[in-house]
């Protein structure tokens, strides 16, 4: 069984949801990892969940990057080459910790937005999207105030060139333009990975799209991809 570790910072609030997605929905092993924790090597995947780590009064993720667990996550993703998956606040923390390039601005509406969005899968050769087809459209909700992805031109070019843009906001037919961009993200970016493809950050919440009753099962594509990838490499 795949061992998922879900990080809990003071102020994390999607930790229990991610645990549920991995444990109850995917039927895998899952445990919570307290933010002061030192030993994380036993896990196959680390999820950094959504929420407001340390209140996020300063800038989303700005304080969490200094947590003890983050040092270990650097090693986990670097030396050990294991999977790290940041969702929403988790993505913001990965940017602040420079595990992924770029930064988050406040949404162009200047407001918190919670609603379903459509994402186009741009790269299905990552461990997080291997069960998706290329250009598949996933219906997954967002819930954030700082999800307006930004980076300089050079970085964007390299992201595109290296196929690191994994998800882009689109409409239900796959059209990608300003009208299908909920928060003003550069290039409609909803999720990116690192060059080695073992660190993924995305603003939408796949753990919220796991059952028909909740409105979509598309989030399961991502959790299934991760699970299958790890099983194969075990």
């Amino acid at each position: 069984m795949v061992k998922y570790g879900v990080v809990v910072f003071p102020g994390s609030n999607c930790d229990r949801d991610c645990f549920w997605a991995a444990h109850d929905m995917m039927g895998q092993k899952a445990e919570f990892i307290w933010h002061e924790s030192k030993s994380i090597d036993k896990y196959d995947v680390i999820i950094i969940p959504g929420g407001f780590s340390y209140g996020d009064y300063l800038r989303a993720g700005a304080i969490a990057r200094f947590a003890r667990v983050m040092d270990n996550i650097h090693t986990f993703a670097g030396k050990r080459n294991k999977l790290v998956f940041g969702i929403c606040n988790g993505f913001q923390i990965l940017l602040e910790s420079q595990l992924l390039p770029g930064a988050m601005l406040t949404n162009k509406t200047l407001k918190f937005i919670c609603k379903y969005t459509n994402l186009q899968v741009e790269n299905n050769s990552t461990p997080f999207t291997s069960e998706c087809s290329r250009e598949q459209i996933l219906r997954i909700p967002i819930a954030h105030q700082e999800g307006n992805y930004y980076c300089d031109e050079k970085t964007l070019n390299s992201l595109v060139k290296n196929d690191q843009v994994v998800f882009r906001y689109c409409d239900e037919k796959g059209n990608i333009d300003d009208s299908t961009n909920p928060n003003g993200s550069l290039y409609n970016i909803a999720g990116i990975c690192n060059k080695r493809r073992n660190v993924l950050g995305m603003m939408p919440h796949p753990e919220r799209a796991m059952t028909e009753r909740l409105g979509s099962t598309d989030g399961a594509f991502i959790f299934r991809s991760i699970t299958e990838y790890v099983k194969k490499s075990l």
Binding site: P10, G11, N13, D17, Y54, G55, C114
Partner: protein, 756 residues
């Protein structure tokens, strides 16, 4: 302020604390001496309307508050109902009107914080929040200031704590111009064996303080809430507290961990009147006393004295009674969450509240007269209401016959769809995280929100409702309808309404006319709730909601909670599903147009009569719809309320878009001897629009006939237009509605959203 002890208790000081002369006489009798300044402050907070319910208590006793589901009725931090499993559901609604009128962001945010604490101090993890908001006209500058601020405040707090805000209502009426209403409700789930109450016991047990530091914010907040908002009270800005949702999240997790570890006897939020009320109430419920040492209370500001500490309403603080010898363990759990736990006093045998400061006793008051409304010296107000003059005025009711019949129903429908109280509020609720905790089955903007309960065979449905205009025009009927409609909304989801909480927002109760409104509304609510077998389990009274032009519309907001039972968890949403589905109208339309949204929006009239309601019919209509949903016969169910049948049909056509489904049209044929405007836009109660697949339609029709519920087939789902043909018997000319769903969506989604 530090030299408060030298304050002489003059008649001015007494009056400043809001005491009536006879109340001060009672204090002298209780104390047998002139009270100290600290004691006077404690009496003032505990006897404020907000804490004492001195005007409302005798009336509130009339509510039904028992029933097979009730585990905890009114009088605790929150009420609790059984679910028939190992779990129970705790919930409560509370007002934060005055703070929000002065400082909308902080006022609304701290309102959410307070109600969350009320629920998790019972041991329950909050799973959903709702709110009921009322502002003045959508065109007024004050509304443009208040509305975005209140919404941002609620979002800021609820989103950070991670409790989804799943349902609510936002209403615009001139009457709320100077006194907006912000009512917040929270629902939580608790393991029955872990329910904890705010009852102190065990002489010698430590009283501990956890959470944020005490500052000078919110001193006399309870008194502030118990007076009319005037220029003078608006100056009391320091009465508004500052919100820290991160602290709340830590407190929430720490408190639930304390409950898991079974280390506490009792716990209570320091809400209105802070340490004063939490200490007094826990002691009173336990029949014991509490002794507190002010020097040990963690303070944020320098040189605070006992008076300020006892009356501070700094947020995110709780007071608990530890089990013997568990202090260290409590400290350890709080430290894990980066918080402190400090012993500030102990439980004592004599039932008194004793306050120490710098080694001296500065207050020593018997607990009972502070908290027991049955105590002979408690300042309970026995009042008599007088029927308000405005209700005796003939012009309060309109004579529909004097009005020409509407010859442009399509134009009227379009006007209504974009009008403030009908139009979509999606820009409001999309600012709330309404999906966190992955259990929101039916989203905001629906009759009722549905919350899944994982690994159990039930779901929770909830709806917050009140039509203040109805209550103003006819307090008794308005009160009944508030209960009936919230229950009807819950029934439309397939859930059986079980119990409710209420937030009774009224004007100054010392005015006999206002008091009459209050009594009548409560009577109406009680009568309706008795028939529906839905007791009240918690609530809050908010008086003194007045502006320059007088009192607000009496607004007894109801938060109804119900269950969807069964392994299949069958539920319905309000919108039309598939081409060819049969549309039924459950219930009977009467010739009623009074008090309607149509009269206000299209005819510019606010006048009665309020629609009639027969609770037996109401109960039968709700029951048949629930039965139909449970049997899997019904595909959609939508309550008919503001804007009548035509608006409800339009909503059925377009609200699927909120759930990622497409809009779909309908062809409806109405034959009636009722004039078309009343037929289309009148707000006759006890009506629900349902749809069934072709085969199931027959079965449902039989089911309704057997239960003797009036049911009429009015049309079919399909196409991309809402077409309504009205065949009115008194005239040969048809009055039709024929409008595309696209046009309906455009009108409906811009009416209010452009302002938020």
């Amino acid at each position: 302020m530090a030299e408060y002890k030298s304050f002489e208790i003059t008649p001015e000081v007494v009056a400043e604390h809001g005491f009536k002369p006879e109340e001060y006489e009672n204090i002298l009798k209780i104390m047998g001496r002139i009270p100290t300044y600290v004691e006077l402050g404690i009496f003032s907070a505990m006897w404020s309307e907000h804490c004492s319910y001195k005007h409302s208590k005798p009336t509130l006793g009339k509510f039904p508050h028992r029933g097979k589901y009730v585990i905890q009725g009114p009088g605790e931090n929150a009420g609790i109902i059984d679910t028939g499993t190992d779990l129970a559901v705790a919930f409560k609604i509370e007002s934060h009107n005055h703070p929000s009128a002065v400082e909308p962001f902080q006022g609304a945010a701290t309102g959410v914080g307070g109600i969350l604490r009320d629920v998790f101090t019972m041991g329950a993890r909050p799973v959903a929040s709702c709110n009921s908001l009322r502002f003045g006209s959508l065109d007024s500058a004050n509304t443009h200031r208040l509305l975005p601020g209140v919404v941002k405040g609620i979002a800021f707090y609820g989103n950070c704590v991670g409790v989804p805000t799943v349902a609510g209502e936002t209403v615009f009426e001139d009457t709320y111009e100077e006194n907006c209403l912000v009512n917040a409700m929270t629902i939580g789930i608790v393991e029955k064996k872990k329910i904890i109450k705010a009852v102190a016991s065990g002489v010698g047990n430590s009283v501990m303080y956890i959470g944020a530091l005490t500052g000078r914010d919110g001193i006399h907040g309870a008194t502030f809430a118990s007076a009319e908002l005037t220029e003078e009270t608006r100056e009391k800005r320091s009465s508004v507290q500052v919100a820290d949702p991160f602290m709340e999240k830590l407190l929430l997790e720490a408190t639930l961990e304390l409950i898991d570890e079974n280390v506490m006897v009792a716990i209570q939020d320091m809400g209105a009147a802070g340490l004063t009320s939490s200490g007094t109430e826990m002691a009173y419920r336990g029949g014991v006393g509490i002794e507190l040492d002010m020097d040990r209370v963690p303070q944020r500001e320098k040189n605070m004295n006992a008076y300020e500490i006892m009356l501070s309403e700094s947020q995110e603080r709780m007071c608990l009674v530890a089990k013997k010898g568990k202090e260290k363990q409590i400290e350890k759990i709080l430290n894990k969450w980066g918080l402190h736990a400090v012993v500030i006093g102990r439980v004592i045998k004599k039932p008194r509240l004793v306050i120490w400061e710098k080694g001296k006793i500065v207050a020593d008051i018997p607990v009972a007269p502070l908290a027991d409304s049955k105590h002979p010296l408690f300042p309970l107000k026995k009042q008599k209401g007088i029927k308000p003059a405005y209700l005796k005025d003939k012009s309060i009711n309109i004579d529909p016959e004097s009005m020409p019949v509407d010859d442009d129903p399509e134009g009227s429908l379009k006007k209504l769809m974009g009008s403030p109280n009908v139009a979509s509020k999606s820009n409001i609720w999309e600012q709330y995280d309404h999906m966190v905790q992955t259990a929101t089955v039916t989203l905001p903007g629906s009759d009722a929100a549905v919350i899944d309960v994982k690994n159990r065979d039930f779901m929770i449905a909830t709806s917050v409702d009140c039509n203040g205009r109805y209550v103003y025009l006819d307090p008794y009927k308005g009160g009944m309808i508030a209960i009936a409609e919230s229950a009807r909304n819950v029934s439309c989801s397939g859930a059986e309404p079980v119990a409710f909480t209420n937030c009774l927002n009224f004007g100054n109760p010392e005015d006999p006319e206002i008091f009459w409104q209050f009594e009548q509304a409560v009577k109406g609510m009680s009568d309706a709730a008795t028939v529906l077998k839905t007791p009240v389990i918690s609530g809050n009274v908010s008086f003194y909601n007045e502006g320059k032009k007088g009192a607000i519309y009496p607004t007894p907001t109801v938060g109804m909670v119900g269950y969807i039972f069964g392994k299949e968890k069958r539920y319905a949403r309000q919108y039309f599903k598939e081409q060819g589905d049969v549309i039924f109208l459950v219930g009977e339309t009467k010739n009623e147009i009074g008090a309607s949204e149509y009269l206000k929006v299209v005819r510019g009239e606010i006048a009665g009569p309020v629609p009639d309601i027969n609770m037996k019919t109401e109960a039968a209509v709700q029951k048949i719809v629930r039965k139909g949903i449970k049997a899997g016969l019904i595909k959609s169910a939508h309550d008919i309320s503001k804007g009548g049948l035509a608006v409800a049909l339009a909503e059925c056509c377009i609200t699927g878009t909120l759930h990622g489904d497409r809009a779909i049209g309908a062809l409806v044929e109405l034959q009636s001897d009722i004039r078309p405007d009343a037929l289309l836009f009148g707000e006759t109660q006890s009506r629900i629009i349902v749809t069934c697949g072709k085969d199931n339609a027959r079965v449902f029709r039989k089911m309704a006939a057997k239960d003797k519920v009036v049911l009429s087939e009015i049309g079919k789902v399909g196409g991309n237009r809402l077409i309504v043909h009205v065949d009115w018997s008194s005239q040969s000319k048809c009055r039709n509605i024929n409008v595309t769903t696209e046009e309906l969506i455009r009108l409906w989604s811009t009416g209010v959203n452009k302002y938020v």
